[in-house]
Amino acid sequence: MIKQLLARFTRRGAAAPIVPEHSVAGRTLLLLITIMSFLSAVTLGGVVLVQKSAIAWSADVGREMTIQIRPVEGEVMDSNLRTAVTLAQTTPGVAGARALTVEESQALLEPWLGAGLDLSAIEIPRLIVVQLADPVDADIEQLQRNLQAIKGASLDTHAAWRQQLNTMAGTVVVSGLLVLGLIGVATVLAIIFATRGAMASNREIVDVLHFIGASNKFIAGEFQGRFLSIGLQGGFLGALLCALFFALISMAAGSVLPSEATTQVGFIFGAFVLGIDGTIGVALVVPAIAALTAITSRLTVRRYLSEAS
């Protein structure tokens, strides 16, 4: 039904198409464009997913700082903790500060030291989580200066993490866009070869059209209509497969992976949901591929006809 609608959309009036709809070259090109569209849409979706996750991570990490108080001989940990919390809470731009309890600190060490270990006998560094109201306006330098009064205290703004995260996300995004560009070039080359093949196999039609007085523009238009139809169909199928792919990945992440792993994967990549911007990006692959197919095939057909005549 969709195929018929698309074919009707690209056909001139109600007359039968001059270029046959079911030529072998047409089917091969449709398969090729579907694959290329799928790869483009998946790459684009992946790029959007990584970029969205990176922005979310960066924003989350940027709104939080950690004060670490190391045990120092002669210093009282609880007193230092209270002082540091007060200093943090009185710093402009800070929304709140809370010292992690001993239990929470032990829970953080569990993955390395194992569960059920009694850490009350040894002093471990304690952490204070500082929430920022506005990362831009927060006076971090003042807090850093004030904390120098507490022995063993240090402030971690996670700047290095954020820098690393942004670099990694940027690298993935640029790589994805590069891959997208290469897929585009490969698609153009494939369309050129497929178009020339289709023209060669339809040489008789081209000759007859020339003999009855058709201009190169008319002939190119007939072939372009056919290729635009193939491009639209291929782009649509590729985008549809991509949507199914992301839906399957999302379902697989929820059902195949254990719940802890799902949480971790969800934390890193979100819920594998493209969102509105990702969906728009994937949907834009359809007209982009169709336009690419139409323009490439038109130029190839015009060149072929110039050479032929």
Binding site: G13, A14, A15, A16, I18, P20, E204, I205, D207, V208, L209, H210, F211, I212, G213, A214, S215, F218
Partner: protein
């Protein structure tokens, strides 16, 4: 209508296939073009169809020096010339009606406009009952009549036919030439029909353009 003056044709650096052709064809005339195989009949027809440029000499068609025409003007000129091939050259995926209507589609006419004309012409050539059939199920004679209808549907001033009776039996050959004669008489088309069938040449008393080893003589 058509004037050739000292026209020669060679392919690449090869020998001249046609040489020193000088003749004129009057509007509304009917000529047979004949000669042995390899004498250059098809090459001359391709020159007349403007599908080839002469290597030398001057070709005038419809009062225009063909050598001075640009690409668009050549295209316009070609639309005044119809062509019928021995091997029909119908498009197998289109019906008889669609094949015959093709030149009008190329001219940009909508189907509602050309449908009555195409239907009338198909009735006239005896294919009224076969207009929705694909060429693959038509007989040789039906295919050739469809090809003739396609060549004349846009009312060209000149009609060229390259061995149009080559793939049909003698009786049908004669009927096809009668059809060309009728087109010449009723529509006033200038017709050049290439054939090497002697019985046809003997039955119809039209002037003959005889090609032999690239040289042309006209016998009225």
């Amino acid at each position: 209508m058509i004037e050739f003056s000292d026209v020669g044709l060679r392919y690449g650096n090869g020998p001249e296939i046609l040489r020193d052709l000088t003749f004129s064809i009057e509007p509304g005339s009917f000529h047979f073009l004949t000669g042995p195989s390899g004498s250059g009949k098809t090459s001359l027809l391709r020159l007349l169809l403007l599908a080839l440029k002469p290597s030398r000499g001057k070709v005038t068609m419809l009062n225009e020096d063909v050598g001075k025409l640009d690409r668009d003007s050549l295209l316009q000129m070609r639309r005044h010339i119809g062509i019928v091939f021995q091997e029909f050259r119908l498009l197998d995926h289109l019906t008889t009606f669609e094949n015959v209507a093709l030149p009008l589609r190329v001219l940009g006419q909508p189907e509602s406009e050309y449908r009555p004309n195409v239907t009338e012409l198909l009735e006239w050539v005896g294919l009224g009952e076969r207009m929705h059939a694909l060429p693959t199920v038509l007989s040789g004679g039906e295919k050739q009549r469809a090809a003739i209808a396609r060549a004349v549907i846009a009312r060209p001033k000149i009609l060229l036919a390259d061995e149009p009776t080559g793939n049909v039996d003698p009786d049908l050959s004669s009927r096809l030439v009668h059809l060309f004669a009728e087109l010449n008489r009723t529509l006033g088309m200038t017709i050049i029909l290439a054939t090497h069938e002697l019985p046809l040449l003997e039955r119809f008393s039209y002037p003959r353009m005889v090609l032999n080893k690239g040289a042309l003589t006209i016998h009225d």
